[in-house]
Symmetry: C2
């Protein structure tokens, strides 16, 4: 790369997307980080997203507001649906309908405005909790659609959607991030984190995260309630 190529990186403030941001930066991209205020109950993740973006040298961090809670259908945006604290069968109630599709679509719009051809997302098919939009075939289909949806596609500049964690286990993700200097104490993964970012230690996301630090053989820096 001569002048640094730009990439849009979806950053939630959690462990996975923070690792992806470190990976995109290590590959030399000028990173434009994008977060969403979509009515999620775990508001502490927005503060974490801003923190990790700054810590990992983003060029610009943008928060797009979007009232996904108005369509409902998920424990993450509907306070009347409880976050489960045991493993469940099938697609769990924490699944937010079409969330990754919506987030990638807005990332695609920003990429077009920036002239960026690369979009990074921290989806993961191993510890993916049964969410349909975390599977590799979804990412491939989104990329194909993106190349037909945009000015870039029409003019022959290929848009790539990178999901570098897709085949990694949580322990491998953490090891990769630590090698790139990620400070996981800055991140918040809990679905029901307190306003100051304390984790419940019991939801799906907390269980996967805690197991990841065990697998990686490193101390868990998470602050629990």
């Amino acid at each position: 790369m001569s002048a640094r190529a730009k990439a849009v990186v979806l950053v939630s403030g959690g462990l996975d997307s923070t690792t992806v941001l470190a990976m995109a930066r290590a590959r030399g991209f000028a990173c434009y980080t994008l977060s969403f205020d979509y009515g999620q109950r775990h508001r502490a993740e927005l503060a974490a997203a801003e923190r990790v973006s700054a810590a990992l040298g983003d060029v610009e961090h943008k928060v797009v507001t979007l009232n996904l809670d108005s369509i409902g259908g998920s424990a993450l945006t509907d306070l009347s649906i409880a976050v489960p604290e045991q493993e469940t069968e099938g697609i769990p109630v924490t699944y937010v309908p079409a969330r990754n599709t919506v987030f990638l679509s807005i990332a695609l719009g920003w990429a077009e405005v920036l002239g960026a051809q690369d979009i990074f997302i921290g989806v993961n098919a191993v510890d993916y909790s049964g969410y349909p939009d975390c599977r590799p075939q979804f990412i491939d289909a989104f990329e194909a659609m993106a190349n037909l949806a945009t000015r870039e596609g029409v003019e022959g500049r290929k848009i790539s959607v990178h999901a570098p964690l897709i085949d990694l286990g949580k322990g491998e993700i953490i090891r990769a991030g630590l090698e790139l200097g990620v400070d996981y104490a800055l991140t918040v993964s809990c679905y029901q984190a307190t306003a100051t970012g304390l984790a419940c230690g019991r939801c799906d996301s907390c269980r996967l995260r805690r197991a990841g630090f065990e697998q990686a053989g490193v101390a868990d820096p998470t602050r629990y309630v």
Copy 2:
């Protein structure tokens, strides 16, 4: 259909999407209409969207707020970029990056919540002003992606994205709508309509609309400034 099947219909308040809503209703769908407050300069279209949804018997009309203006890049959301009043070459500045992708994605999320398998959008490849996301190959690619993105897709209930206007000229659209009883006086198409819905008569959208009424051989009910 036994109990009426549900459909999510994207409704902007303009001529095309209003016709699509009438078509979806004529096909027997229980219509859930979706509009966006995305920072567009033509605010009168939101009032028109509500008006036409009620007039055409929607079950529910929802407005999702989304600050697409924060990513910029279009004359429709950036007041510092003028709306062109002559025909231009290539993709015009009124193109909103990835707009249809974003709108369809949110429609997909609502469809999942509702248990609807049908989404209607008023894109049109004839008078499409050079927007990449109005082409049939884009709609097909979006539908393929949608079937991998969602619970419905995973569980084998196919999601269909209908674009019934895709091959029609503006005159044909108007004739089809009039046969279904659409009152086009309720609709607003102008990119720079006044707050009360008066059209400029000079932008791309006004020119296509006015020519459409001429092609259809009917009086133009548009109120111009």
